[in-house]
Amino acid sequence: MRAVSITKRYGSFLANDGIDLDLLPAEIHALLGENGAGKSTLVKVMYGLIQPNEGELRWMGNKIVLAGPSEARALGIGMVFQHFSLFENLTVAENVALGLAPTESFTAISERLAETARLYGLPLDPKREVWRLSVGERQRIEIVRALMQNPKLLILDEPTAVLTPQEADQLFVVLGRLKGEGRAILYISHKLDEVKRLCDTATILRGGKKVATCNPRQETAVSLARMMVGADIGEVKAASRRDVSVPRLVIYQLSLAPDDPHGTHLDRVSLEVRGGEIVGIAGVSGNGQDELFAALSGERLSPSEGAIVIDGLAAGMLGVNERRRMGAAFVPEERLGHGTAPRMKLSENALLTGHAASGMVKRGFVDKSATLAAVDRATTGFDVRKAKRDPEAVSLSGGNLQKFIVGREILREPGVLVVSQPTWGVDAGAAATIRQALIDLAGRGTAVLVVSQDLDELLEIADRTAVMFHGRLSAPLSAAEVTREKLGLLMGGAKTGEEPSVEEASHAVGA
């Protein structure tokens, strides 16, 4: 497959600007770039999902025009998306059958599915319903579904974003095998060590343009990062030796049934976060992190008062604003629709979390100047780039909006901060700003709890890290003892032998 000077415009925005790409058989080709660099646009063009404005695709030397994904599949191009398109209530085999031509009988499909899965060492039970499966298993369905069409080119969009390190290793074995069979693989990622390990060639995009094509094994992680970002990224500096004080956030034996049928049951979660400390919660998404966040923020109430203790006061049955008045602040994972109202102005989004405890409301009336002042403080303090003083939240880029949201909460100088996926889908510069802000906040005595899927992030900033698996929380590992491997094992459900220390947590509840 060859892409020749592909250009795609959205209005006046150039998503792809004359990009050339050559994909060869028996080669794993990495497509590297930050969010918004144009990676997704390019692969959508190559999979027939969108049409380029200029440029052409060549398949085995012949010019082709793809009217849609079905034509791409017919030629032998398969794709595994980052976001799975699976029906939760159907079985594995039913899901696969839905994506294939209706000429084959269901039994034949099931057999071929089992055969393909066995052949590539991707264990799958065709009769299982998808909602029972882990994220890694769901991804296997997508991969097997793509392989059953015997593709000559397989495109994978950030496949390891949702996997544990061990699952990722298994995936790499499969990819190595596919390469050995002479297939071409286009591997999209922004994880540099993975690319260095796995890929033969790397093409780097920045701002819609191709920056370079190189051999990643001859580059260093730093040089690759420099090409991706276009500048050196500031290292995050740990505040020198923070003083850890009393427990400011205590979760004690919290059990909670999910409110949606496919949710996760929280099972006796216990943890304490002391002032001046950053505690991380790792885990593959869907293991109860969302439920835990809702319970901590007060969007869902706990069964007992003492299940959640903020600064010594039982808060388990208090609402989100009462907890904010106690000095807690929360940053949810979903930026648009949860953390902010997309179509409302930033000043109104400042009011969204500030109306209860930040003096923005006087006798029922909104103090507009106070909300605007909060926007201005977040803008200057966190370098939020925006077109005008008070735009709609949706018009900001992901990184800038995230800086605004994190800034909005940190500027309240909370005693307890719970933040979920602080740098998910955020460019490297913004991620560094946000991590630094969290470290500085802990340095000022705040208890910070970070829920993240990004192990590198947790290894970088967390003093202790616990892992969530099937609604249970492991005992936290201190920064000295934590390794990727240990976390990876816990994320896959391995037992450590030591249960969360109940003793330790029970001290603080008496307060």
Partner: protein
Amino acid sequence: MPLVLERRSERSATIAIASPLIAIALTLATMAVLFAILGKNPVEALDVYFLEPLRDPYSLGEIAVKATPLVMIAIGLSLCYIANIWNIGAEGQFLVGAVAGSWLAVRTNGTDAGPWVLPAMLLLGALGGALYALIPAICKVRFGASEILTSLMLVYVANFGLDYLVRGPWRDPHGMNFPTTAEFDPVATVPTLIEGGRLHAGAIVTLLVVMAATVLLGRTIMGFEIRLVGAAPKAARFSGFNADKLTLFTFAVSGALAGLAGIIEVAGPVGHLQPDISPGYGFTAIIVAFLGRLNPVGILIAGLFLALTFIGGENAEIAIKVPLDLTKVFQGILLFYVLACDSMIIYRIRFISTLRKPAHADV
């Protein structure tokens, strides 16, 4: 060449303002065609409908009289609609408000009750409307019943209840068997503003309601809550707002305003309780709310415009002999076009080429 609706990256501010105007223009064009089919001269018919009332001082007063309940109801409905809560039963709340207030007028009729009667009637009317509106709200909050259906169905219940009262217990004994109560006493009547005209103090109440709604939505935390629950429910929960409470609140407020409009209509222009006190104000107010962009001032303008169609329709019935029902047809077409044009604020129409070649130009 199939058409697709494509989401715009940002709301189009131009279309947000232009949409009601485009909708009105399209409605007028459709009406012209309709008149032509009916064998009338479209230009003359539209003139009778829309311009003649504006040249006649009496009609101008009548427009204000008709706009009074329309705007008052529509303001209440707009609070619901902004919060994504669908009260379709304002007509029923209007009738129940009229009945609740009239109860006192009927009880005190012919006695020497003092000037406290009218304020008490207005209070009862608002209370009646609010309580009646809380029925669908409670059903939604407690049992998850669709408020669209329950509030709409309660309109018919109210209609029959009113019918029963004026034909039965409350019928005027000296009324020659007509289904109506006795004419209200002066202390139970809303005073007129101009000697001899029909324009009454209710118009001032409506203006106050418009101002109050402007302040509520634009300046208060309550208004923010209403807008946030409608715009992003999950963010509203994160903000600590309770959607159930808000459902009850907006239903109660819109019911109270509809009930207030009902009792003002009965104690004002009508002067007694009778079955046909509303030419569908509660339903027309839905159109007013949307045509007015769910904005209090916009609703005031839209209410005057819709009132014009009522008066124009009456004129046209006499002058060019078209059925009065044409007014309802007109209002229905208008709502249709308003909603269609509104979708252009967030979406744009695009033609998709089925030809197998890359599109080189942005459409």
